[in-house]
Amino acid sequence: MEQAKAKIRIATTSLAGCFGCHMSILDIDEKIIDLVELVEFSRSPLTDFKHAENCDLGIIEGAVANAENVEVLREFRQNCKILVAIGACALNGGIPAMRNQFSLAECLQESYRDGMGLENALIPDDPELPMLLNKVHPVQDVVKIDYMLPGCPPSPEIIWELLTALIAGREPVFSEEQIRYD
C-alpha cells in the first residue's frame, strides 16, 4: 500500500498586525477541511506551539515594530523553507508604519502621557515588554521573503491560490482582480 504523503508543515504568526489576515485565512470556509488533509500547523495563533520548527511554509502577517517582532521573524526565516509575507502591514508597514511620521518619543508621549482621558499617565517601562523600534519596518527589511501577498486583508481566494500552488509545488498565478492593496 502506498504510504500516506507527509503533510506540509505550516507556521503562521502575526507581528504588528490586527489578525485580519489570519481571519482571512479562516475565511476559506469549508476549503479548510481540504487544507487540513494536506497540512499540519506548527507555531500559529491557531495552535499553542511556542516555536516554528522544521516548517515547509511560514506565513507572516504584520509589520516589524518591536524587538520581539524581529526575533520571531528571524526564527521563522531560520525554520521555514518558504517564507510568505501577507497583508499590507507585512509588505509595506501598513497602518502601523504611519507612526513613522513621528518620533518614537512623540508617539509614546501622545499615547501614554499627554493623550486625552488618561489617568495616572505613565509610559510603560516593564522590562518584560519588548522594546519598540524607532521606526516600523516592512518584513523584507529584516529577512528575505520568498512570496508576497497584498491586501488588507488579502482575500481568501488569493490566499487559497497561494497555498494550493505552493503545496502543489507550482508558481502561484494571480489575476488582476485578485491583486488588491486595500
Binding site: 499590507a88 509595506n92 511620521q101 508576497m148 497584498p150 488588507c152 488582476e176 491583486i179 486595500d182
Partner: protein, 232 residues
C-alpha cells in the same frame, strides 16, 4: 489610413497621433499615469513604455509610424513598468487601506494591472505634511507621484497656475502658489479642473470621503484596463 501593430492588433492612426492616442481610440489599453487625453502629453512617469524600433519609448510621446511593431503586453515590458511603479510607491507614503481614494486610484489600479504584488525596494517613509487649510479641498502630499496633471489643469484649463513642482530629483515636490504656501490663500477653487484631475489621493474633496463605499468604487467594479478613459 496608416497602420501599426500593437502586440497582435492592427491599429490605424491619423498622421501626428501618438502610439497612446491611437491605441486608446482603438480601445486598446496601455497602462499610464501622467497621460490624460485632455492634456498635452508629459512623458514623465514612463509607465506607458513600449518596445518599438529596437528601443523602449514612452508611448504617450512617441508618434505612431506606418508599419511599426509595438510591443506592450510582454513580460519584460511589464517588469520594467513594475520597477517604475515600485519606485513611485516607495518614494511616497501610499497606505492604501487608510486612503479614501482607494478603489478609484489610478496608481493602485495600474499597479494591479501590471501585476505588482508589492514593492521590493526599501521604503523611504518621507516626512510630508497635509494641507487641510482649504474649506472644501484637502491636500495630502504623501501620495503625490509628480504626474503634474494638476499643474497642467490649473495652468491650461483654469488659467491660475495654482500648482507647480519645486525641487529636483528625490527632492521634487508639489507646491501651491500662495504667500504662505497654503491652499486656502491661493486662487484655487473646488470647482477648478485641477480639483478633480488628481489620479491619486492628493487633491481630495472634503466632506464626502466615504459617500461611495469601499468595494463599489470605480476600479473596484471594473479594472482600469477595461475602462475607457473618461473625464474624472
Amino acid at each position: 489610413m496608416p497602420e501599426f501593430k500593437l502586440d497582435n492588433h492592427s491599429v490605424s492612426f491619423l498622421e501626428g497621433q501618438t502610439i497612446m492616442q491611437a491605441a486608446l481610440e482603438a480601445g486598446l489599453y496601455i497602462p499610464h499615469l501622467c497621460f490624460h487625453p485632455e492634456f498635452k502629453p508629459h512623458g514623465s512617469c514612463r509607465v506607458c513604455i513600449v518596445h518599438t524600433n529596437g528601443r523602449y519609448v514612452s508611448s504617450c510621446t512617441t508618434l505612431a509610424e506606418q508599419g511599426a511593431q509595438v510591443i506592450s503586453e510582454q513580460a519584460e515590458v511589464q517588469r520594467q513598468r513594475r520597477n517604475l511603479l515600485e519606485m513611485l510607491f516607495i518614494e511616497g507614503n501610499h497606505v492604501c487601506p487608510s486612503c479614501e481614494k482607494s478603489g478609484s486610484c489610478t496608481l493602485q489600479s495600474v499597479a494591479e494591472y501590471c501585476g505588482m504584488l508589492s514593492p521590493t525596494l526599501p521604503f523611504q517613509f518621507p516626512q510630508r505634511k497635509v494641507d487641510a487649510s482649504h474649506p472644501d479641498t484637502l491636500l495630502d502630499f504623501n501620495r503625490c507621484i509628480l504626474c503634474e496633471l494638476c499643474v497642467r489643469a490649473s495652468r491650461e484649463v483654469d488659467h491660475k497656475s495654482v500648482f507647480a513642482i519645486s525641487g529636483r530629483g528625490i527632492q521634487a515636490h508639489l507646491v501651491v502658489d500662495s504667500a504662505d504656501g497654503r491652499l486656502v490663500n491661493s486662487l484655487f477653487a473646488s470647482t477648478d479642473r485641477a480639483a478633480s484631475v488628481c489620479p491619486v489621493g492628493v487633491i481630495l474633496p472634503k466632506h464626502k470621503g466615504f459617500v461611495e463605499p469601499i468595494g463599489q468604487r470605480r476600479f473596484d467594479l471594473i479594472p482600469i484596463s477595461r475602462q475607457q478613459e473618461k473625464a474624472d
